[in-house]
């Protein structure tokens, strides 16, 4: 297994897009921290960029990469290697390098300028989001044979998590504003890893006071050990489930 990971990683480290992504994150983080004196303020400014850019780049880059390595996968499948080994290696290689790009691009500036709990939470959430969206990209790319359609689907998936989901939540919020739906909001937020990350980081900065009664409920839930454990499990599920579905499909795929 490590052999294939080695080839995937070697290929990805020479990839120009990934390099540009790293430099872009680095420039953004350094300039944001350079402008803000307060570390927490810097984290909040960076938060919005990270929650927008990381899922987008992770999912689109991975989908394009998977379609472009179609030949490589085909070559490997005709060799004496397990299909699950091939697929797992590609996931580990991709997720590892995309997360590494994030750690270099955001992790290092955070360590230098804002080595706080909120900063650590930002880096942690960014890494998990990278893994989740690589995993979703694997699922999209394995299901759809056509490259253009596959990339289209990943853009749609990103759009859903980044914008449409929040719009839906707002809509529900206004429709049911007469009812006590605060606990429902916690459950609803679990359906979107981007939202989970946003809440986790905002709670670290103590901005929950601005979120009113819902903020208090969030505080109560995410602030406890049990709540955090459930959140972590949900995030791991978000990584594992799409990956597992794609693996199951890949094992039966005709190449």
């Amino acid at each position: 297994m490590h052999k294939i990971i080695k080839y995937v990683v070697a290929d990805l480290l020479r990839n120009r897009t990934l390099l540009v992504y790293t430099v872009l994150l680095l420039v953004l983080s350094v300039s944001v921290f350079g402008m803000e004196d307060n570390a927490d303020k810097g984290v909040v400014s960076l938060l919005n960029i990270v929650l927008f850019v990381v899922p987008l780049v992770s999912i689109i880059f991975s989908t394009v990469y998977l379609y472009n390595s179609g030949e490589f996968i085909e070559l490997l499948v005709s060799q004496p290697i397990r299909r699950s080994t091939i697929w797992m290696s590609i996931f580990i290689g991709l997720a590892g390098t995309v997360a590494l790009a994030f750690i270099v691009g955001v992790g290092i500036p955070v360590l230098l300028y804002a080595a706080t709990a909120s900063g650590a939470m930002l880096v942690g959430c960014g890494c998990i989001l990278s893994l989740i969206f690589v995993s979703v990209a694997l699922w999209a790319a394995v299901r759809i044979r056509d490259k253009a359609k596959g990339i289209g689907l990943s853009i749609l998936v990103w759009l859903y998590f980044a914008l449409l989901f929040d719009a839906l939540v707002l809509f529900l919020l206004f429709q049911f504003s007469d009812y006590p739906i605060e606990k429902g909001m916690v459950v609803l937020s679990m359906l979107n890893p981007v939202d989970i990350s946003r809440i986790l980081i905002l709670l670290e900065i103590d901005l929950s006071a601005l979120m009113g009664y819902t903020g208090a409920i969030f505080r109560n839930f995410f602030g406890t050990g049990g709540g955090m454990a459930i959140t972590l499990v949900v995030l791991v599920l978000w990584t594992v489930v799409p990956m597992w579905l794609s693996l199951r499909y890949f094992k039966r795929k005709d190449l």
């Binding site: 052999k3 030949e71 490589f72 085909e74 005709s78 004496p80 290697i81 094992k251």
Partner: protein, 239 residues
């Protein structure tokens, strides 16, 4: 060596393989012939586990293949269109395959590597290669690990006459070692003198599986192309 039992595969509405059953033994050199779209490549890919049949089973050296993968180390496969990672050089591709197959350097069969003069091109990137050079790399990889079964899908397409002869000599040499060789080709004149058996596929089914001698005797010709032409003519008359 390879037993195929009632394999069926359908791509959407198209029945690509329809209850195919074949028995292929070591020491045979089988020509898989048939019109375009008759399921030759799909059958080969099913043997390699690249296409997963809906029904039927495949036995390799008496063992059912199923979801197994280790049996592929006994197969050398030369695809119809060799597709390789575009950014890798020939040397890197060869090294990667050696790394995956884990065969000691001394046991490698580098005859074709030497014959095709690939050593001088090791640093060339795959994307810059011509179709013929790609075919040479594919052929070299298929023979490199000294496999018991060689599956060659249109091996001579795109090769120059000199390289074609080199490849044919190599195939003949391997046949002497009691290996099973499966070749598909539309250039029937290339197959004459190379093969011992003929499998003729049409509409996803093997129409017949005969030895070359029997086929020639039946059709009263001494060339494979003439024999196949006659069989096809008779078949069309029957339709």
């Amino acid at each position: 060596m390879i037993t195929i039992q009632n394999i069926s595969k359908r791509f959407g509405k198209l029945q690509v393989l329809d209850q195919v059953s074949l028995t292929l033994a070591g020491g045979e050199c089988v020509a898989l012939i048939g019109p375009n779209g008759s399921g030759k490549t799909t059958l080969i890919k099913a043997i390699l586990g690249m296409v997963i049949p809906e029904s039927g089973s495949l036995l390799f050296q008496g063992q059912p293949v199923g979801q197994q993968w280790a049996y592929r180390q006994h197969i050398g496969y030369m695809p119809q269109i060799g597709r390789y990672p575009e950014n890798m050089t020939i040397g890197q591709v060869l090294d990667m395959m050696k790394d995956i197959r884990k065969m000691p350097e001394a046991e490698l069969d580098t005859d074709l590597f030497t014959a095709f003069g690939l050593r001088a091109m090791l640093h060339k990137r795959m994307r810059t290669l011509s179709g013929g050079t790609r075919q040479k790399v594919s052929a070299c990889l298929a023979f490199l690990f000294n496999p018991d079964v060689l599956i060659l899908d249109e091996p001579t397409a795109g090769l120059d006459p000199v390289s074609t002869e080199l490849l044919k000599d190599k195939i003949s040499a391997e046949r002497q070692k009691n290996k099973l060789i499966i070749i598909t080709s539309h250039v029937l004149s290339d197959l004459d003198g190379l093969i011992s058996e003929v499998v003729y596929m049409q509409d996803g089914k093997p129409l017949f599986h005969k030895s070359l001698q029997a086929l020639k005797a039946e059709t009263d010709t001494d060339r494979l192309s003439a024999a196949i032409a006659r069989v096809m003519a008779v078949h069309e008359l029957m339709d």
